[in-house]
């Protein structure tokens, strides 16, 4: 109920009831305070490019509109990019182009250690998966090659639907995102 209240999803009458209760109830207002603090901290982490996850492109566009420096790489289906992270970058994004129509479940497998993100969210209409790696981790990388794979999973098993190669070099002052 508190998250619905915070996100303005309640009708006016219910919202008024919740507000009157919150103004008179220390325990519930502390719960809301905890939610507000979580939200504040979560926003800071996003602005620092500190969360490794998958987001829609519309979300990336909003970050850029809000003035964050977003470094974006468009990686063709089964293709590769040369990439880096500059000192002023807030967020780094990889757009993995992929044929997503008809796919039920999609996993993202990363690196040689095959770290796997299960059942990632995607919108088949968009034809891409947008990954945000942790900027702090990228800054520590030496010149190196990294791979990501998109794996479709259904009742008949799994199959790789796209492989992506990232040729990373530490920032030299001369690089551009694609």
């Amino acid at each position: 109920m508190l998250s619905e209240y915070w996100l303005a999803e309640l009708d006016a009458a219910t919202e008024a009831q919740v507000e009157e209760h919150l103004l008179g109830c220390g325990a519930c207002s502390r719960e809301l305070e905890e939610l507000a603090a979580l939200v504040t901290c979560m926003r800071q982490l996003v602005r620092q490019g500190a969360v490794h996850t998958v987001v829609p492109n519309a979300f990336v566009r909003r970050l850029a509109e809000q003035g964050l420096r977003v470094r974006e790489y468009n990686v063709p289906h089964n293709g590769s990019v040369n990439c880096t992270v500059a000192p002023g970058d807030d967020v780094v994004v990889a757009h993995l182009q992929a044929p997503l129509q008809g796919i039920e479940r999609l996993d993202l497998v990363e690196g040689e250690a095959r770290e796997r993100l299960y059942d990632i969210p995607f919108n088949a209409k968009h034809g891409e998966v947008v990954v945000t790696p942790r900027v702090e981790d990228l800054r520590k990388l030496p010149a190196s090659t990294h791979r990501m794979r998109l794996v479709a999973v259904d009742a008949s098993g799994e199959r790789v639907i796209g492989e992506y190669t990232f040729n990373h070099t530490p920032y030299s002052g001369q690089s551009s995102a694609t």
Partner: protein, 197 residues
Amino acid sequence: MPYASRMPEHSAETALDDATLARRIAQTAPGIDSTAEAELCRRLAPRVRLYGLKHLRNESAAADLVQQVLLTTLQRLRAGRLREPGQIASYVLGTCRMVVLDLRRGHARRERLLETYGEGLAPADAPEPLAFDSARLRLCLERLSVRECTVLIMSFYDDMPSEEVGSELGLTAANIRVIRHRGLERLRDCVTGKGLP
């Protein structure tokens, strides 16, 4: 000095409910029951701040709201103009609504009130907001399923309702609410230590 720091944490007043404190303030007038006022302000300040954050989405505007609502409430109680001090939450909600409208219009009632009633009536400073350890929250976010993490970030970064999050992710609003609810529960457990050693 702010009321919040004048008030010992475990005074007799902390055991009283809000309505009793409000009645005490009203009944003491024209005298001043400073301990009851301090305790009432200590309780109401964080609640009013949250109302402000929800409706104004701005920390300093929320702090202004706290000052103005508490000033108005104390002024009303002291003047004996609150007909039912037992309904203090209802009165504070009404005042919050009016002041938010005022703040949105850019009016500065705060200065007028301070000018009229001076520092003697100045209530609590803006309460210190609760804060989480961001390193721990990051770990906890990454321990959620990717769907939960994405839905929480999209929902709360821009205060986006479930319909909009759903349309961007190709999911129904109901589905988003379920994922959001489950993700938030797991995140809370993790940051408070129930789900992460």
